[in-house]
């Protein structure tokens, strides 16, 4: 069997802040196989975006301490200088950010921006790059692409801008694409279009995708495997098909229960999670979720649960899991 495309092991990302070290990612391990779509889901502050940026090698050199390993195609990304990583960005790994307004240059025409990434990424001449850029605009479903080629990002709608970002990210045929909240802020109808586009591109190009989002509905319908993050750690890892009925971690259960569902009757009371996530500037003892968990015991407050295997491809980090005991 081939080794997975991406192997992340015991990754730690710690920011130096005026108030002391802030461990945003606290020992995360996971892998992404070729052609697989993996979802990383968590609430704000869970460390999911920091994790994605660290995997990409985008963390600044100063003020951040990294440890552990990120192997992409056998090549180490952690603590590698940016000028070496630059050759991998675009052609091996690319990222789609949440806000297409800030990830595109507002004063450059969209066609030129895509063409530039082609010129830099695969070193083709300007004329050829422009032709390829136009082709990409067609592929991502921009209506009348010839006219839009010379448009500025501000002249496009949010959905169209995200299509441009996707075209730019995919321009150099990356093997792995990290999409960080690619549809947050878009309408449901446009969200469906963008996710369909990502699915289509993934199938055509045989890419692997990491979908980072807070939206359980999005990961539940668009991924093969889901990692649930809380306070900088993966607390549960499970095949997408098991999310609804076979999750084991109380946090996953609480997230699912607090999500409003379209099939609920009017005035259905949601089960809110009391309190808020822990402050990571303070040292944590025990399970990070214990203070908000209705199943927490003294053991949970004193000892940190490690991820343990739950038959098949699932893992959870909890002393008092929900569901049937294995």
């Amino acid at each position: 069997m081939k080794s997975p495309l991406l192997v992340v092991s015991d990754l730690h990302t710690t920011f130096e802040t005026p108030r002391g070290p802030l461990p945003a990612v606290r020992g995360v391990s996971f892998s992404v196989a070729e052609n697989q779509t993996v979802g990383i889901v968590g609430e704000s502050g869970s460390g999911k975006t920091v994790l994605a940026r660290t995997v990409m090698g985008l963390q600044p050199i100063r003020g951040v301490t990294l440890s552990g390993s990120v192997l992409l195609n056998g090549k180490e990304i952690v603590n590698r200088p940016h000028d070496e990583l630059r050759h991998m960005w675009g052609s091996e790994v690319a990222m789609i950010f949440q806000d297409p307004m800030t990830s595109l240059n507002p004063v450059r025409r969209i066609g030129d921006q895509i063409a530039e990434s082609l010129q830099v990424g695969i070193g083709i001449k300007r004329k050829e790059a422009r032709a390829r850029a136009l082709e990409l605009l067609v592929q991502v479903g921009i209506p009348s692409p010839e006219d839009r080629f010379d448009a500025y990002p501000s002249q496009l709608s949010g959905g169209m801008r995200q299509r441009v970002v996707i075209a730019s990210a995919l321009s150099c045929n990356p093997k792995l694409v990290l999409a960080d909240e690619p549809t947050t802020g878009l309408d449901v109808t446009i969200q469906a279009q963008i996710l369909d586009l990502l699915d289509k591109m993934k199938a055509e190009r045989k890419m692997s995708t990491i979908l980072v989002t807070h939206d359980l509905g999005v990961v539940a319908t668009r991924t093969d495997h889901i990692y649930v993050m809380y306070a900088g750690r993966i607390v549960e890892s499970l095949p997408t098909a098991d999310l609804h009925a076979h999750h084991r971690h109380p946090y996953t259960a609480a997230l699912l229960n607090s999500t409003p569902r379209i099939e609920n009757k009017s005035h259905t009371r949601l089960t809110a999670i009391p309190g808020s996530p822990p402050n990571l500037l303070k040292p944590l003892t025990g399970c990070a979720f214990a203070a908000r968990c209705s199943f927490a015991t003294d053991l949970c407050r004193n000892q940190t649960p490690e991820l343990r295997r739950d038959g098949g491809a699932s893992e959870f980090a909890c002393f008092n899991p929900v569901g049937v005991n294995a």
Partner: protein, 323 residues
């Protein structure tokens, strides 16, 4: 749904136009709905459909270019400015971004007391007692947090403070504009539950504006669906979500993703994006994206009609109709 008594808020043919002459954009193109006492009406639609402008026009933050907003029997729009200002205390609004709707350099107690101070309705001890009571109602301990500044609170807590401020004048109608869309699901559930509790306690009526159809389903009694400045369908939420009459409602509902992937419904994708409200299509505004559009839809604008008790739809070819 039971229609008891008279509507508490009645919006009639409300229009809002931005700009003049050739550049004029009709953001709200003549919409009508009623809200009955104790009811929550959800207002949904894609961004740019005019749902927020509707809320702002009811509050007179945006000046309507036509129509009526009636609070009981009194028309807010034709009332004298001074009178309208006083009447408006019976309506209150909460906004999407909880952090920017509070002054970061003011203390929580003063923020909540602001409407009371403006209208000089309470004095001294009464004021402090009333403010503390309001804070307790929204789940913020006034003894611990009352003296903190707004900037020291998280998004969810700021939204609680906004709600306390909105309740200070004992309003009858609360307009909630995307109040949970910036919050995480766990906090979102806390705020939705809080709104339900306060609604029962204060006997409030809610206009709940949101783009998230699942959120609206969980809180609203009735739902109005807006498209490009017009209401296309209005009806009881359970009935409408079960069997939508307007093709737009149907497509909007089928784009919602659910956390249970085994419930994969037939997915119909709504193609394209809404046209510009500065140049809306002739006839039915949805016809350019509608799979069932005919020549009739291009030539004649469908009227809103009641096709089942309490179910109104503006479409020449409504869905799910038993003949």
């Amino acid at each position: 749904m039971t229609i008891q008594s008279k509507p508490i808020l009645s919006v009639q043919n409300l229009q809002v136009t931005f700009g003049r002459g050739k550049k004029a954009v009709q953001a709200v193109a003549g919409i009508s709905f009623d809200i009955y006492p104790g009811e929550t009406l959800g207002l949904v639609g894609e961004s740019g459909c005019g749902k927020s402008t509707t809320g702002r026009a009811i509050m007179q933050i945006e000046k309507p270019s036509g129509g009526h907003v009636k609070l009981g029997d009194i028309d807010l729009i034709s009332s004298a400015p001074k009178e309208a200002r006083r009447l408006r205390t019976r309506l209150q609004m909460i906004f999407q971004d909880p952090i920017s709707s509070l002054n970061p350099r003011r203390k929580v107690r003063d923020i909540v007391a602001e409407p009371l101070d403006y209208w000089k309705v309470v004095t001294g001890d009464e004021r402090a007692a009333k403010v503390d009571d309001l804070l307790r109602k929204v789940g913020i301990d006034p003894a611990v947090f009352g003296h903190r500044y707004a900037r020291q609170f998280s998004g969810g807590q700021c939204q609680r403070i906004s709600i306390a401020r909105a309740l200070a004048m004992n309003p009858e109608v609360l307009i909630c504009d995307e109040v949970v869309s910036a919050l995480d699901v766990s906090v979102q559930a806390q705020i939705l539950n809080l709104l339900e509790d306060l609604k029962a306690e204060y006997g409030l009526s809610l206009l709940f504006i949101a783009h998230d159809l699942a959120v609206v389903k969980n809180i609203a009694d009735r739902v109005a669906v807006m498209y490009l400045g017009k209401i296309v369908e209005i009806g009881g939420s359970d009935e409408m979500y079960e069997a939508p009459h307007h093709p737009y409602t149907d497509l909007l509902l089928s784009a919602v993703v659910d956390i249970d992937p085994s419930k994969k419904h037939e997915r119909k994708v709504l193609q394209g994006e809404p046209p510009s409200p500065s140049n809306p299509p002739s006839g039915c505004r949805f016809r350019t994206r509608c799979p069932f559009a005919t020549e009739l839809c291009a030539s004649t604008e469908p009227e809103m009609s009641e096709i089942a008790p309490g179910r109104f739809v503006a479409c020449h070819y409504p869905l799910n109709v038993t003949k």
